[in-house]
Symmetry: C2
Subunit: 476 residues, 2 copies
C-alpha cells in the first residue's frame, strides 16, 4: 500500500498540462474519445466454445466472434517473494492489475507491486486525472478483484471492507482459516482503507454491481457506513433495477444490487451442476471391467434467483448514458461478466453459459454506442482461462469395450439444436476448480485496427488503452 | 468412396482452361503463387502456453506469436448417421477433411462425406489440376489422418494399407477389437485402395514423413509392394535423413523415415510422463484428511530415439526446394507436426513441447522462403484442441489446510527459466486422453491480411486457400 506517489505525480503532471495540450480527438472539439473494455472473467476458448454451441449452435456466431480485430494475450504472473520468478497460472487480481496498470504482479494483489507493495497507478486514475470520466460495472461485488484493481490499491484482494481489512478469516466450509489481511492498509493504521472504503472515496463517475455487505459496514472514517461515506463523497446511490433504469445522468452513480455477487441468469436443469461419474463395483476393482453410470443429460434453465436483477446489458447501457452525457472529453468504462469464472469454480456450466450471454449482450450495447460515437475503442477479453473443458460426448475410443469416462466432474448438456455436449471439470478434486494458464482472446472493433498486434502480453493492454486516450503510460 | 466425379470434373474443367486463363500472379509471369499450410495437430492455446513457457519463458515469444494476422477457427463435426447432427469434439480425420475440402464430415472420415460416403475434391487435387505442384510433409506416418485427407478418399482413417483395407483389428492392448474397415474401398472390390495405395498413385510432387510399414506390404495391383508401386508411378524414394538432405529437385520425392510415426524430439526426464497423484490412506478415507504425494518435478530431455530422424524443418526445407525449383506456377504445401497430439494422448508433455518447437522451426523456413518469394501465403493452425491443461503449480486454495490435487494425471515440469509448471491430463481414466472442443488459432503472414477474418469456421480455410490460388471452390 505504499503511497501512490507515482500516480499522484503523473496525475498532477497531466493536470498541469491541461486539456489544451492533449492530442486526443477529444477535449473541447466535440469529439470525445472513449474506451469500453469488456472482460469475461475466466472466458477462455473452451468456455467460449461451450457457450457458443449452446447459445448459437455449432455453426453459429456470438456477437464477439464478428469483431474485426483479434489478438491473444499472454497472461503473466510472478511470485510475491524472491526475485519474482514466473508463475504460470494467474488469478483475477493479478490479471486485472496487469490490464489496469501495465504491471506484472503476484496473485491476490490489487494494483500493488509484487514484494514491494507499491501502489500502481491505474488507467482509471490516469484517465480521470486527464479529464476523462470513468466507470466500472460488474456482475460481481464491485469490491471483487477485477473491478477493484482498476480503482483501489491493496495487497490482498480479500480485504474488501473495513471489518476484514486487518484480518481475513474464512469460517466455512472448514474450521476458521486465516487467509491473511492488510493491516498496513487499514485507515486506523494510516492506510487508504479496505477496498469498499477506497471505492467510496474514488473519483469514479459510475460504479455498478453487487457487494452491499461490503458497504453496509461501518466506515473507518465514521460515523456512518461505507455507503453513507460514498453518498457523502457525492455518489447517488441506487439499489434496485427500477431505480437504476430510472436514474438520470448528472450525479455520480453508485448502484449496488445484491448483498454479494449478483445472481446469475442460467442454471442447470433442477439446479444441477457437473457430477462425478459412478463406476460400478467391478469397474472399481479393474478399469477394464464393469461399467459406469454417467450423469443424466440436462438443459439449461432460467435461474429463479436472477429475477429482478439488472442485466449486465442494462447496467452497461445506463453506465454509457451517464458517462457520455454532456461529456466532450470522453470516458473509460470497464464492464465485467464475473461469474463465467465463479460458476466454473463451482462446476456449473449452465451458469457460465448464461454469463457469456450477458457479456455478449453488453457488447451489443457497447457496439451500438460506438456506431453513434466515433473514437470509441471497444475491447473484449478475458483475464485468464479456466477449468471447463469440452470433451467428446462419445469417446474417441468408443469401439474399445471398456468403460471410458473422466476422473473429474462431468455435465452432459443437450443443446437447443439437438446435440449433446460433455463438459469436464477435472483440475482438482477440491470443492472449487482451479484456473488454467492459456493465453486469452482479445477482440476489438474497427477502432482497434493498427493498435492491437496479433499477440500481446496482457499488461500491453494497459499501454494500448493509455495510448488511445493519449495518457502518458506510467510504466513500460 | 463413391467416385471422385466432382473432383475429376473440376480438374478437367481447370485443365481445359489452361494456365493462360488463370488470374493468379502466377503462371508464366515468373511470379508463382504458393501456400504453405502448417498444422500443429492438437495445438490449442493450452498446448501453446505450455510449450511457450518451456521453450521461450513466460515473457517469451514463439515465432508463430509474431505473425501479423490472427484468427480463430470454429471446429465443426457432424454425426455420420441420421441428419448429420452436430458433434462438438472432432478428430484429426474430419478436421483435416474440413481444411482440405471445405466440407464438414464425421469423425474418422478421410475426404469423404458423412453418411453418403462421397469423395470430396481436395485442395491438393484441385491445385494440381490447375498446374500447381503439391506436397505433404508430416512427422506422422504419411498415411495418418491429417496428410491422408489432403490426397486420399476413404471412409475410415485406419484403412492405411492394403493389408487392413477390408478389416481393421486392434490386437493390443486388449483382446482383438474390430475397428471396422473399408471393404468398398479395396481395389479388389473396385475401390481406390487403401490410403498408402492411393498416395502411391497420387500426383503429389513431395510426400515426406513416416509409415514405412504401410508401404512395404504388397500392393493390391501387385506384383510388388506399395513402395514399388510408388516408384513405378514416378516417385524417387529416400529413406534416411542423409538421402533426404542430398536429394536434388527434379523427380517427385517420396521420403519415408520410420516404420510408423517419426520419433519425437523431446521426452520427460528419464522417459517420465504425467503420473497420478498418490493420496495417503487417510486421504482416501476422507478428502479433508491425510496428504498426497505428487509426482516429482522433472525437466525435458532429448529423446535418444530421435537421433538420425530428419527434423520437420529439414523436411520442410527440402520440400520447399523441390516444390519451387523451376516452377513458375507455384505450389501448395501442407506441413504437419503430428505428435503434439499423439504425445498428449499419451500424457507426455515434454513430447508435445518438442513437437511445437519443431513446428515453430518449420515456420521459420516457411517465412524465410516467403521473404524471398512474394505471393506466398503462410498459414499456421491446429486441427483441434487437446487434453493438456496448464494448472496452478501452487493451488489457488493453498491456504486451505486440506490436500488439493487433480483427479487426473499430473506432470510437474521445471522450466529453463526456473519456474514450475503443472500440466494436467484428466479427460479420461482410459490409457489415452481425449481431444477437446475449443476453437483453434489461425495465424498468417502479411499475405493473409484482408483474406482471413477474425473468426472463421474451419472449412472456410479451404475456401480462403482456394481463393488465394484462384481455384474454383468446389463446395460452399
Amino acid at each position: 500500500m505504499k503511497p501512490l506517489t507515482l500516480a499522484i505525480c503523473t496525475a498532477a503532471l497531466l493536470a498541469s498540462l491541461g486539456p489544451g495540450t492533449s492530442h486526443a480527438a477529444g477535449s473541447g472539439t466535440g469529439q470525445p474519445r472513449n474506451i469500453i473494455l469488456l472482460i469475461g472473467d475466466g472466458m477462455g476458448e473452451q468456455q467460449l466454445a461451450i457457450a457458443r454451441n449452446y447459445l448459437r449452435g455449432a455453426r453459429g456466431r456470438l456477437l464477439m466472434d464478428t469483431l474485426p480485430v483479434r489478438s491473444a494475450a499472454q497472461v503473466l504472473t510472478i511470485e510475491d517473494r524472491g526475485a519474482g520468478q514466473p508463475m504460470y497460472v494467474a488469478d483475477s487480481a493479478n490479471t486485472a492489475t496487469s490490464m489496469a496498470t501495465g504491471a506484472v504482479t503476484s496473485r491476490g494483489r490489487i494494483a500493488t507491486s509484487a514484494g514491494s507493495d507499491e501502489d500502481l497507478p491505474t488507467i482509471v486514475e490516469l484517465a480521470a486525472a486527464a479529464g476523462y470520466r470513468t466507470g466500472l460495472v460488474s456482475t460481481a461485488s464491485v469490491t471483487d478483484a477485477t473491478p477493484a484493481a482498476f480503482a483501489a490499491h491493496i495487497s490482498e484482494r480479500l480485504c474488501e471492507n473495513p471489518d476484514n481489512v486487518e484480518r481475513v478469516v474464512q469460517a466455512t466450509p472448514y474450521k476458521d482459516i486465516e487467509l491473511g489481511g492488510c493491516p498496513a492498509d487499514a485507515m486506523r493504521n494510516g492506510g487508504p482503507g479496505a477496498i469498499s472504503e477506497q471505492l467510496a472515496q474514488s473519483g469514479l463517475h459510475v460504479l455498478l454491481g453487487g457487494g452491499r455487505k461490503h458497504f453496509t459496514v461501518a466506515s473507518e472514517t465514521g460515523p456512518g457506513s461505507v455507503l453513507e461515506l460514498a453518498v457523502d463523497k457525492g455518489f447517488t446511490s441506487v439499489s434496485t433495477r427500477q431505480q437504476l433504469l430510472a436514474s438520470q445522468p448528472g450525479a455520480r452513480l453508485l448502484g449496488i444490487f445484491a448483498s454479494g455477487h449478483l445472481p446469475v441468469r442460467l442454471q442447470g436443469e433442477g439446479g444441477r451442476i457437473a457430477e462425478l461419474p459412478k463406476p460400478s463395483l467391478l469397474n472399481r476393482l479393474h478399469p477394464y471391467l464393469g461399467d459406469v453410470s454417467l450423469p443424466p443429460t440436462m438443459v439449461c434453465e432460467p435461474n429463479p434467483a436472477f429475477a429482478g436483477t439488472p442485466s449486465l446489458q442494462e447496467m452497461t447501457g445506463i453506465a454509457l448514458r451517464h458517462l457520455s452525457a454532456d461529456n466532450d472529453r470522453g470516458f473509460f468504462l470497464m464492464v465485467e461478466s464475473a461469474s463465467i469464472d465463479k460458476q466454473a469454480h463451482r462446476r456449473n456450466p449452465c451458469g457460465s453459459i448464461g454469463e457469456v450471454a450477458q457479456l455478449d449482450e453488453a457488447l451489443g450495447s457497447a457496439l451500438a454506442f460506438a456506431r453513434q460515437h466515433p473514437h470509441t475503442l471497444v475491447l473484449v477479453t478475458a483475464d485468464h482461462t479456466h477449468a471447463a473443458q469440452l470433451i467428446p460426448y462419445v469417446s474417441l475410443y468408443d469401439r474399445v469395450p471398456v468403460p471410458i469416462y473422466t476422473p473429474g466432474y462431468l455435465a452432459r448438456i443437450e443443446t437447443p439444436e439437438g446435440g449433446y455436449m460433455a463438459v469436464n471439470y477435472a483440475t482438482t478434486s477440491f470443492s472449487r476448480e482451479e484456473h488454467t494458464g492459456a493465453a486469452v482472446p482479445v477482440l476489438a472493433n474497427a477502432e482497434g485496427k493498427g493498435r492491437l498486434p496479433g499477440f500481446i502480453a496482457q499488461p500491453d493492454l494497459f499501454r494500448i488503452m493509455a495510448a488511445y486516450l493519449e495518457l502518458p503510460a506510467a510504466r513500460d
